[in-house]
Amino acid sequence: MKKIPKKVKNPYFAGTILGVVLFAAFALTHSGLGASGAISRIQVAITKLFWSAHVDRVGTFAAMGAGDRNALDHPSMFLLIGTFAGGLISAWYNGRLKIEIFKGPKITNYQRLFFALLGGIIMGYGARFARGCTSGQALSGGAVLSLGSWAFMFSVFLGGYAVAYFVRRLWAD
């Protein structure tokens, strides 16, 4: 039986759930949500498998996984696994669990995957630069009124709008 994808929820409804989850995160763990920290931890753990001396040498890697420290033994990893599980559950329940590639109609699948990887690399780099991603900086820091997080949030939108015109072929109809 093939499920028909349900319509996505009203953004204000989804946002309210997001806000309640974010509040729960602060109330129960005194820190908010995050994704990029755990992604860095995965990167450090992978690097360590092949080249552990290098992890000890690079400052930001060493902070997470130097010596016998296990980079993956951190609450943020469980938050990441949970995010994955939540995405899976909701996609399954709403009939959106399907192997596919989302792209603008004017580019090929290979092009899309190339740009997804490239965008990911830029994003991963920027998220470390900004000490957090859209979840950890913008959402969490925004809710507790951190000035740096608000400045960060606007610069993400600014960066996106500044470049959007030049890459319009990626998404145009």
Binding site: K9, G15, F78, G87, R96
Partner: protein, 398 residues
């Protein structure tokens, strides 16, 4: 009183399980919003679909209102929440880079996780990219490490920047978000109507949205009207949590422990002297600072004390217990972690050290050297200072 330290309450396994559940809620919220689809996320930057902006700011606003409403009602201690440190310029540069990654790749780290979880191959490629990008950053950091660590302010709030109260700032943020929602709705309508040829108008046509906005404004006004608790009211709320440490005198340290701590190079000791000016002028401990009780109610004065590194210790001394205890209460509820009182102030300081010599030489009683400790039997005092290593500033991004 919130927040709970879930790992301390439930142990590591139980705590991690709670993190997993919170993550699950996060993943569900992102997926429900349709953030597993890069086309919807990218459309934000072409003004055709404002879902990203609407969902993000609703999330921020709802969490913000819940946090500061519970803080105003005394249900949550805001000083214990992790607030992202501000590294202004690195944050802005990083944000600009991320914006580019967002529009090129179509996701952000959290949403690419959700896309990958729902079997979207482009989401997986993006996610792999973020792992590579994080690695490249670590490799290239030494080239610009000074810039990366520049323009730093710990726990710097929008309210501090504006010079407004927290309540006024929350109200302002609410109005700002509602205006943005209105503009977002109208921009979407404009593009929709342009395609269908309908007439566009400024009017708000969706009634439920008006009611929703009304509720948000009312809550924000309530937060502003109640106000965030000052240290005196906060102590009344939190008395049960901390008064035990005062009653058992667990936070009163012996002068010799003070000397020992002061001579430890790994500890950053701050001594606040609450005695009258003239007594301070006559004699005070080297490096101590003369303060008045009222100073300790001033948020600007407290900020650096609440943001000490984990090895920071604050010691209070006064002429009598009633003053030092009040000072301790004020500072404790404002988030000063390693906070102690010098037992008896300086009343028996001089008699303790007056006739003492080290290898036949006298020493300055305002800063007794560590050798002094050998002149006293080991059991002269009980060690009270425990360095709390709890670091709240980092949050989950590190």
């Amino acid at each position: 009183m919130l927040p709970v330290d879930i790992i301390a309450e439930l142990g590591k396994a139980g705590g991690y399980a709670v993190f997993f559940l919170i993550g699950t809620g996060f993943g569900i919220a992102l997926e429900l919003a349709g953030f597993g689809d890069s086309r919807r996320l990218a459309a934000q930057f072409y003004l055709k679909d404002m879902t990203v902006l609407k969902t993000m700011f609703t999330g921020i606003l709802v969490a913000c209102l819940l946090i500061f409403l519970s803080a105003a009602l005394g249900l949550l201690d805001f000083s214990q929440l992790a607030v992202n440190q501000t590294f202004l310029w690195p944050g802005i540069v990083g944000g600009l880079i991320m914006g580019v990654g967002f529009i090129v790749g179509g996701y952000c780290p959290g949403t690419s996780l959700v896309a990958t979880a729902s079997f979207k191959i482009d989401g997986l490629f993006f996610l792999v990219g973020t792992v590579i990008g994080a690695g490249l950053f670590g490799e290239s950091l030494p080239a610009f490490e000074d810039f990366w660590n520049s323009s730093f302010t710990d726990r710097f709030l929008v309210s501090d920047w504006l010079g407004w109260s927290i309540g006024a700032t929350v109200f302002g943020v609410t109005i700002f978000a509602l205006v943005m929602f209105y503009v977002a709705e109208k921009v979407e309508e404009y593009f929709k109507y342009k395609a269908t040829g309908n007439a566009w108008s400024w009017k708000i046509t969706k009634r439920p949205y008006l009611y929703g906005a009304g509720i948000l404004i009312a809550v924000a006004a309530l937060i502003w009207a109640i106000g965030q608790p000052d240290p005196i009211r906060k102590w009344k709320i939190m008395e049960n949590k901390y008064s035990g440490q005062l009653v058992s005198r667990a936070v009163f340290i012996h002068p010799l422990e003070y000397v020992k701590t002061n001579n430890e190079s790994t500890i950053k000791l701050i001594t606040l002297d609450l005695r009258p000016n003239k007594d301070f002028a006559a004699f005070h401990l080297a490096g101590s600072e003369n303060v008045k009780l009222d100073n300790l109610l001033d948020a600007k004065f407290i900020a650096p004390l609440a943001q000490l590194p984990p090895n920071g210790v604050v010691v209070l001394l006064a002429d009598n217990d009633s003053i030092s205890i009040k000072a301790w209460q004020y500072l404790k509820v404002q988030g000063v972690i390693n906070l102690y009182i010098l037992e008896n102030g300086l009343h028996n300081w001089n008699s303790l050290f007056a006739d003492k010599t080290i290898h036949g030489k006298t020493f300055n009683p305002a800063s007794p050297p560590v050798e002094v400790l050998q002149l006293f039997p080991k059991n002269t005092y009980i060690t009270k200072i425990k360095i709390g290593s709890k670091k709240r500033a980092g949050g989950l991004c590190s």
